[in-house]
């Protein structure tokens, strides 16, 4: 007993204060690849090495459309290594969660030289807007919502619909003393009947589709669904095949998408807080209606 207390005292507080304070992350962390579309003279090497097709090309005789999809990205950094003149850089950004799948997709159109390199850029469809809302105020607002509307507790049911277990590891890490998601009154629950939020990982397998649907059905309204990781958002590297249905929103309506492979705990927290906002809206609409 004495030993336990001594260890507790000598350890002190280790909990990080994200998002009130910036996340402490290693300077080697590979976050969002950032594209300087103007500078990009050749997208082919990056598309060639991209393991999941997050960078894809559609070529016509003298023009090229490049599509970048952060929903497919596994943040391997190969695109940056393959591109010249720093047209692609790896940043430390991880707050990529969004409620609109389209926010993760970007396109650029180029005219081409004879050798297939880019002669000029015709247009870019949407540049990356950093985090959907101001993260810090989002955290504050989520806390208020949980405090006031949800009776100080938000319950999440997690379902692995076919994941490799990578996302689960990071979701479990949300419960460790460093990330300690319970400081927001958020807890993971065993029964979907207790849950306000469904957190889904993995490409949905043919064998898990029914279990996922049943879990969703068992939840009381209002509820929100969060798709976690490249696989949950888009099918990831597994995609669609005889055993895998791919993305979660083929099976369930999804409210928030959290990119990553897997998303780090702070990225998950960011997405969950964003989803709390969606839930608050829904609660508000319900009471107004």
């Amino acid at each position: 007993m004495f030993k336990i207390l001594q260890k507790t005292v000598s350890t002190g507080t280790v909990t990080a204060n994200y998002p009130a304070e910036p996340a402490q992350i290693s300077d080697r962390f590979r976050g969002r690849p950032s594209f300087d579309f103007e500078k990009w003279k050749d997208a082919r090497p990056a598309a060639e090495v991209c393991p999941t097709g997050a960078i894809s090309l559609s070529d016509k005789v003298d023009s090229r459309k490049v599509t970048v999809d952060y929903g497919l990205c596994v943040f391997c950094g190969l695109c940056a290594e393959a591109s010249f003149e720093q047209a692609v850089r790896i940043t430390q950004e991880f707050e990529l969660a969004t409620s609109d799948r389209r926010n993760l997709i970007f396109t650029a159109e180029y005219t081409l030289n004879a050798d297939g390199t880019h002669r000029g850029m015709r247009k870019v469809d949407r540049q990356w807007m950093s985090a959907e809302t101001d993260v810090e105020s989002m955290g504050k607002k989520a806390r208020e919502t949980i405090q006031k509307i949800l009776g100080r507790s938000l319950a999440i049911r997690e379902v692995d619909a076919g994941s490799c277990n990578g996302c689960e590891l990071e979701i479990v890490a949300l419960n460790n003393p460093v990330h300690d998601i319970e400081r927001f009154g958020i807890q993971f629950v065993a029964s979907p009947r207790h849950a306000d939020m469904l957190l889904v990982t993995g490409p949905v397998t043919r064998n898990m589709e029914l279990a996922l649907l049943k879990t969703h059905r068992a939840m009381a309204e209002p509820k929100v669904v969060v798709a976690v990781g490249a696989c949950g958002i888009s099918g990831g590297i597994f995609g669609e095949n005889y055993a895998s249905l791919g993305r979660v929103d083929k099976v369930l309506p999804v409210d928030v998408y959290i990119p990553g492979c897997p998303p780090r705990p702070q990225a998950l927290l960011h997405g969950i807080l964003l989803a709390v906002g969606r839930l608050a809206e829904r609660l508000h609409n319900n009471s107004a209606g």
Partner: protein
């Protein structure tokens, strides 16, 4: 080419089964193929086991109909004290598509033979329980790993029975179904417990809920992209599976990874081991109510995954290993972080273990709980942590040295008691050994290259690669094809061997102890299901 012991094996085999042996070839010094003309593997297996104490490591199939007109089964054997793998390649009778089952003799291959049935449509004759395992019962009759089955086949949504469980009868006997969605944040699988009051009579499993066509998908991806698929076989073993895969390619293409690359792989393989073992030690304590120990363990694990990120850019060590070595070198700052983090971790780990050791109630709950007897472990072919706690003295790092392991001696912990407590002890001993290995390896070969350029991968080469992941023996077997693609990629995660151990170990224990027994094995569902 061949060492003495292998030639001895061949001579003996030739004398015994002369006419059956068609050819022998040593693709590499430690990987020898014996092609036999008969599909009956039983006498050879019996002989290898009886005369040489050989262990059947894994069994898998390949559809070679379009090239050689037949399906082949491959039986991988190893022998204690011999670094070679002996791979017997047996054609499957093309008229009946049947092969003789070994499962009655060798329960260790029970699931693997059934997997061949499900995925290739071949029949294991004489199998004691030939029901489906890798596809759920009501799947249509498709054979996904046949070459004429397209990966993208769209099947109708699943309906009906997934598995018929044996009923349990008797006064007060109940069946308790659990899963596939579990109470905690874990992977999906279905457990059907037959209980008499609290004690478990027996447990039936329905796995493969996360089957996502991984082995088939490997045949469609170019090799440099397939590395990332390998990293996604089992999330907590990303680096081990990634390394096993790259090693297989390197062996096939005779690529020599420079020393520094091998050393860095070794360091990261050990970091993966430490990280997962610490998490498990905490989780085992947690499952018997020692929450504070888990709080410390998960805090320590967080410092280790942070270190992972510092070393590789990814908390799960992803995107770092590559064919030819590793993607980047380490600078002095990284090496300093590695040393400092590991030093303070080593101290704190001793504190954690002393907390667990001095908790009488924890010890009381873990000792004699979930016992897997050594003879059962041997019969079931249990590997890794679960095996070593039950007297199975196997460790790929020592038995088939790879990466830079030949440079560092270490002790392989083996216990006979086979309970949860000793599965935890194995982990504790291994963490200590790993800290030592990393300490020695950290700066080894520092001034040298960590990666070589990769030539075009030649077609038609086979290679077996083995890695001791933190969970146990990982096997990848590949056949290369044209244009930087694979014809076949067989993945065997240790979990596939070890699920029967869970079934065995829970018998007679109270159902409330199931979580901690399950955790003490901590098997990968995704690694099993692929």
């Amino acid at each position: 080419m061949m060492t003495q012991s292998t030639s001895a094996v061949f001579e003996a085999l030739r004398q015994k089964l002369g006419p059956q042996i068609q050819s022998v070839r040593a693709d590499r010094e430690d990987e020898v193929y014996v092609l036999i003309s008969d599909s009956d593997i039983r006498p050879i297996t019996a002989h290898l086991r009886a005369e040489f104490g050989a262990r059947l490591v894994t069994v898998f199939a390949e559809d070679r109909r379009s090239v050689e007109g037949v399906f082949f089964n491959y039986y991988v054997f190893e022998q204690k004290g011999n670094a070679q793998y002996l791979i017997v390649q047996a054609p499957v009778r093309s008229d009946t598509l049947e092969f003789p089952s070994l499962s009655a003799e060798l329960p260790a291959v029970n699931w693997q033979e059934r997997e061949i049935q499900d995925w290739f449509g071949l029949k294991a004759v004489g199998h004691p329980n030939p029901r489906r395992v890798a596809l759920h019962d009501n799947w249509p009759d498709v054979y996904p790993l046949r070459k004429d089955f397209p990966l993208q086949t769209v099947l109708p949504p699943f309906e009906g029975e997934r598995h018929i469980y044996r009923p349990a009868f008797g006064e007060g006997v109940l069946q308790v179904p659990v899963g596939p969605v579990h109470a905690g944040i874990i992977e999906p699988g279905h457990f059907n417990f037959a209980v008499a009051g609290e004690p478990i009579l027996y447990l039936q499993l329905r796995m493969f809920y996360t089957h996502k066509g991984t082995e088939k998908l490997f045949e469609k991806l170019p090799i440099h992209k397939a590395v990332f698929l390998a990293e996604s076989i089992s999330g907590d073993s990303s680096f081990s599976h990634g390394t096993a895969f790259c090693q297989a390619i390197e062996r096939a293409a005779s690529i020599e990874v420079p020393l520094r690359g091998l050393v860095m792989r070794t360091v990261l393989l050990e970091l993966e081991r430490i990280c997962n073992h610490v998490g498990d030690i905490g989780a085992i304590a947690n499952d018997v109510g020692f929450v504070i120990a888990n709080a410390h363990a998960s805090r320590l694990k967080e410092t280790l995954v942070t270190l992972n990120e510092q070393m590789t850019g990814s908390r799960l060590l992803r995107g770092f290993v590559c064919v030819g070595g590793v993607r980047r070198g380490w600078d002095q700052t990284q090496l300093n972080t590695l040393r400092d983090t590991l030093d303070s971790f080593a101290r704190e780990f001793q504190d954690l273990i002393s907390l667990v050791d001095s908790s009488e109630s924890t010890r009381d709950r873990l000792e004699q709980t979930g016992i897997l007897r050594p003879e059962k472990a041997r019969d079931l072919g249990i590997v890794g942590v679960g095996g070593r706690a039950s007297g199975v003295d196997l460790d790929v790092r020592r038995d088939h040295p790879y990466a830079a392991y030949p440079r560092y001696s270490f002790r392989v912990p083996v216990y006979q008691a086979g309970d949860v407590w000793h599965r935890m002890q194995v982990r504790i001993d291994e963490v200590n050994a790993s800290i030592d290995i990393v300490g020695r390896a950290m700066t080894d070969g520092l001034q040298r290259e960590f990666r070589v350029p990769v030539p075009a991968i030649p077609s038609g080469r086979c290679a077996l690669s083995a890695v001791e992941g933190w969970r146990g023996e990982i096997i990848h077997w590949i056949r290369t094809g044209p244009d930087n693609h694979l014809e076949r990629c067989k993945i065997k995660d240790p979990s596939l061997n070890n699920w029967p151990a869970v079934v065995e170990a829970v018998q007679g224990n109270i159902i409330a102890d199931f979580p901690v027994i399950n955790k003490s094995f901590n098997l990968s569902y995704s690694g099993t299901d692929r």
